[in-house]
Symmetry: D2
């Protein structure tokens, strides 16, 4: 994590302050339930609720000695509440606290990311509607295909991010898990109702079978979900970068009046936001393999996953939060140039209607194979002259064509309206 | 994919035969709908339904020339049905066929994998119930922790695979998608009701917004889900490998009477099944990054994803199918040695009760910190003598302990029953 | 591996035939040395050398029973040579044969890949020299930067592939390793001179310390090297795809007269070769993580690496061989359009000289900051009009500029020659 | 990067302070050469050398506005040196500074990592020599194989890390690269001798062909090399974790007297160092895929690589430095229990000699196949009784054996010395 690419709200989830606060709440809720069950004195629970506190410097000091973070934390809490500390954490194992806390943190992170996705969705929807009928060329293989609209392009990305939102809601559900089941998950030293109480109070569900830890297939599922989102961020970022390249220039990222594009070349306006997002996608996806490798812990658990979860996984979430916000901003302020879109669309001088001509010919009783050859041979002429000749003219001078299709028919084929007739209904389906 | 690790049913999904059969069905259904809409003659649709066929060798021959697989296929079909072929594929783009077919293949694969998961679940459930009360040691960090049962261990894996089943059902849903929307997804040359018809007939859903292709975040979601399953396969495989290692030997993979463990050492019985599964997990997960890299296609699509989908992705599914089946077999026939489990459990001569003693001391009015030191100092004595001295005896000779806990109390603590009291309710929750 | 993307020479390395041939040679060489040391009869070595043979179907049959491939192989050999078979493999362990064979296979593969790299290097060199002075625009961020030449572009890729050749030669060296050291690498049952003999005869080096196997950091090093090569293949493939996109179209992949670009759109000529290479790069890199995960085997070895090495690793090599050959072909036959390159270069009407103007101003006593603002403000005018106004004219009408730079000075700045003055010396350095 | 897993020396390489210091040195050296070439005044170079300085807060302030880090840096330097600042960076592009600096940073990091590897090598060598003859069991598949020595085990890891040292020295060489070649690598605005001067002064080599940047295949090679090292760290860490597990316990990580193994179970001494290293390996390897994805930049460069290089790559290096140091400490202080090694070695009551018996039988004129069956059938008896019966006794009561091998022969076979006869020569080869 580096400050440059981190937003405060997300970053603070992984700060010690937040972590220890959650730890304290888990211990307090657990103790309250134990008090209710008469396992510990009521007064102990009250003391912890009222005086419970910790000191981060002190925790670090103790941990340097005992080399165990939960013990260090408990000792610091004990220094605040005195004698009653003996009842705290009773029958629990460190992972009960650490893992339940990690669930809470992931849920907090998911909540932010869902809000982030909503920002992206809002921006995409607004711009998709705005450019619903903004004609542009659709490209496959980087080559002009057929006309489409810029709104439809954005609507496709909207639909992808909407799927992501649903996936993330499910992934959040999967990780909203509590375990307070003791050293190897048998509840041997802790009443299961303690877990139930903590879970309910923190809006989590108890783990079906914890070992010592919450099984890491849940966390892996969470992080691969984030990884897929990263790939869709990359997808949209690359679209923008393509559309902004000098020869295309159908859109540009907003460029601040005081911004400088290059230390050497004062003429530059680069899509650095989208380029950055492309890199962020790599950063986010870097968590995927480690998260998968974290699943196969030894027996009831080993602690190899822990350093990964302290390092790579927050990085991925902080980057995801940064990237989604930056993406929303880029889309929201994107400069769109409909005139250039039309210019580019017409660059191949009608070639984009080749399929329509092909269809008309086959419907006029020419075999598909022959029709293909007829259209292709005219298309290649236009292609090789880079659109200096018009495709319609080429066809009109080919008797194999004109025998079957008269000029009026051709005119009706060379009509962008044919390509936008279903845009409204697709957008209706996509944006609602 | 290599025959050694592939099962026929799964492998055949990715054979040309199956692929072209699905292509033909898609084209036929589409044509039938077009006939119904009076876009093409009814007779054409009937001809295709009745005489539609293809010849794989011929397709390969044509493809070598035109370098386009769908055109090669259509030409081969044309050679079977004659003149009506002109109506086939009308207004459609290759991806309409290829991508819808890929959806069907992934769905077929998912169906098999779900059956595979059921085999694993059944085996795990059977053995979990069988060993519900088979005591063994629970280990964290590879070090003895506290008693548990072998049934609980298996129930934990059962719960993980049950989660996987749910995830895979959802992933199948996500990929059960049809697109017949033309060159850049605008339906410019094809009526949307054709897509609706094909989708319904093939039990798929129409894509919200296709570009030229079905967006690859769907496929990525499918393959990362398989990747997480792979990690759980690895997790269980590693558990078995650990339990079979010579010093532990609580279980053994079934060893055929004619089997040979080593060319050099005739005494060997190795957990080669589980070791193989560990490798298979790596093979399956190898699809994850390529699947994620496949999402960011250029504009309305580029074809970079295609070679990946022809190579790595079937490999992953074939391996997953093989691995789940092999895993089910290993669990089903696993040799379990309860006596050795008890032997190992008692190896540390009572140390596994250390937490229980700690709790009893804190409940007897010693601070957690002091109690910890008292228990630890006795534990370390036993530890260093590798269990030659009994932990109970050590405690009984420590006056700081006996002042607070009498012999009867200690006896009640050193009781395995304390650790199995909740097993039934956990298994109830997990296995149903 | 799928036939579509595999070349015979490379694929055959991983066929059973080749593998068993190498196994037989290793066993024969080892036996010959043992005979020379009088550990086994001379006649046994002669028999194996003369009559040694195997039968693949028979091996498969036996393996199905004993579940051990080396034992199955040895049994098949025994069926060919009779009684003397007792001496074969004496004191050796399976991995001595399997791992030494894998080294030979990787060396064979490396030899092919080095030849492949040479093909790519030759094609790049030829085209780089051909287009040494073919002016085109250099782009950063996808945005026009400054003039360069197409030859220099290609020379950069040449330099990268030359580095790869050196890396691969080293990686081949690293993997040219023999081990014949017995069950756990102690030579307890085999004289070290046997290993030395086999190694020398097969042009390998003995492993420093084998466990049972050759340590997998060697293989990992080999496959990560291939992975980096894949990324450079991708890099060049993406360059071509960019240059071929409709709006740029400075190059085109060779397009066969009978080729069809799209089933729907007869006008299409797509860079499918380079797109395929982009996918192949993903396939090749898919071996990287599994190869790294294969390093940490348990104790003296476990067999988890084996299935990975049977599946993913050959796939990566077969893909790498295919990709490098296809790349060489694409470069060799690439259609290059120098006129379009000039057209694109001039598209921004002189903006590409912005840095040169900036430098001239700073040298004429304007501070860098002021000069930057002056140039940028003129550049942005041209930029916003998309090159309809000439940058030179804009500058000439700005008195802050003309005060410092007269028209003659500006003319001398707006000269492509300034950008190509060092091309020859760079190419001299790169291509030799 | 989190403080918990970072060492100051390595972390400071990636601090802004170090980065800007290197930037300043590059600019200064470049200016000095330009002055020598009479391109800029001598006094300007002297001013920069003498007064050149920067202010990090100020840089951040400026960057927030201009959104370009190098421009912000240059402005801050300008504020320190005044008018002469106009000559600074003249004809250079940002990447000339940024990329050359990154090379220097990677070289600094490599230097530390090489020292770290030396620490690991020293620790391994010391302990390998100390335990040269410490007998223990060698295991394949986690199953007892044949005797070896603990020194030989360590020597194998020594050899691997020695290979890594050589690889890292080469990777450092590969990345010790300077580029000062201007906006698209043509030296259009900067004399190549400036690059040569900076390179020589900073002990780097000029890039063969820079585009705008140093090609990322160099950096990828560097990070995949680190990734392979990570896997060997994991390999050794897993060996220790295995040897420390309760049932084996042949070694233990040093356990501080004040250390606490578990908050719940006071008896625990866990191999947390090695477990942590297992996780660190995942963290380090997380850089591999992003580094590979960074290679394929668009045209002369895009900036997608930059955020990856700011985030993941330093993380990997900081983790690698931490991990190697921790590993050296673990090996250095590792508690080794030779008695337990002997106990475990003898656990299978002689089975580990099975191959030796097999060899003796085949040398006594029994076919390999028959001998295998004879030995296996006796071995399985011992195996099934878990070593309660002695393998030697089993053989002595099998007439098929005693017919061929008398008791004296068997005694000579059941001798550990046979397994250690070559240890000295292997260690001689490995450790020197």
């Amino acid at each position: 994590m580096i400050p440059r690419y981190s937003r405060k709200e997300m970053a603070s989830i992984f700060e010690p302050e937040n972590k220890f606060k959650i730890w304290l709440e888990i211990e307090t809720l657990a103790l309250e339930k134990m008090a209710q069950l008469d396992i510990v004195p009521q007064s102990a629970a009250r003391t912890l609720r009222e005086k419970g506190a910790f000191d981060i410097d002190r925790i670090n000091e103790i941990e340097a000695e005992v080399k165990h973070d939960v013990i260090a934390f408990l000792t610091s809490v004990a220094e605040h509440i005195g004698e009653d500390s003996r009842y705290v954490h009773q029958g629990m194992t460190s992972s009960d606290v650490v893992d339940t806390c990690f669930s809470v943190q992931l849920k907090q992170a998911a909540n932010i990311l869902i809000k982030d996705l909503d920002k992206v969705l809002n921006a995409l929807k607004k711009r998709a509607e705005e450019h619903r009928n903004t004609l542009c060329i659709g490209r496959s293989h980087g080559i002009h295909g057929e006309p489409t609209t810029f709104g439809l392009k954005l609507a496709g990305h909207y639909a992808a991010f909407k799927r992501h939102r649903e996936r993330l809601v499910r992934a959040r559900e999967e990780i909203s898990i509590c375990t307070i089941s003791g050293a190897v998950g048998t509840y041997a030293t802790i009443n299961p109702s303690v877990e139930a109480h903590v879970a309910q109070a923190m809006r989590l569900k108890p783990e079906t079978v914890a070992t010592q830890v919450i099984p890491r297939d849940r966390h892996a599922t969470f992080f691969v979900t984030i990884g897929v989102i990263a790939s869709s961020i990359e997808n949209l970022a690359i679209e923008i970068r393509h559309l902004q390249r000098t020869e295309v220039r159908e859109v540009e990222e907003y460029f601040d009046t005081k911004q400088k594009g290059s230390s050497a070349m004062p003429h530059k306006r680069n899509p650095i936001g989208s380029e950055n997002l492309t890199g962020q996608a790599r950063i986010i996806r870097a968590a995927v393999i480690p998260a998968l490798e974290n699943v196969a812990l030894w027996h009831e658990r080993d602690i190899s996953h822990s350093s990964v979860e302290r390092t790579i996984l927050p990085d991925a979430l902080i980057s995801a939060d940064y990237a989604l916000n930056r993406l929303a901003g880029i889309i929201d302020k994107l400069l769109v140039y409909p005139d250039t879109m039309i210019e580019n669309l017409e660059k191949m001088n009608g070639l984009v209607f080749s399929q329509a001509v092909l269809l008309a010919l086959t419907q006029a009783d020419i075999s598909r194979e022959d029709a293909y050859l007829i259209v292709q041979r005219n298309a290649m002429k236009v292609w090789e002259e880079k659109g200096k000749m018009s495709f319609k003219d080429a066809l009109l001078s080919d008797s194999d064509v004109t025998e079957k299709l008269d000029k009026g028919k051709l005119e009706s084929i060379f009509n962008y309206k044919n390509y936008t007739q279903h845009i409204d209904s697709i957008l209706q389906r996509a944006l609602n």
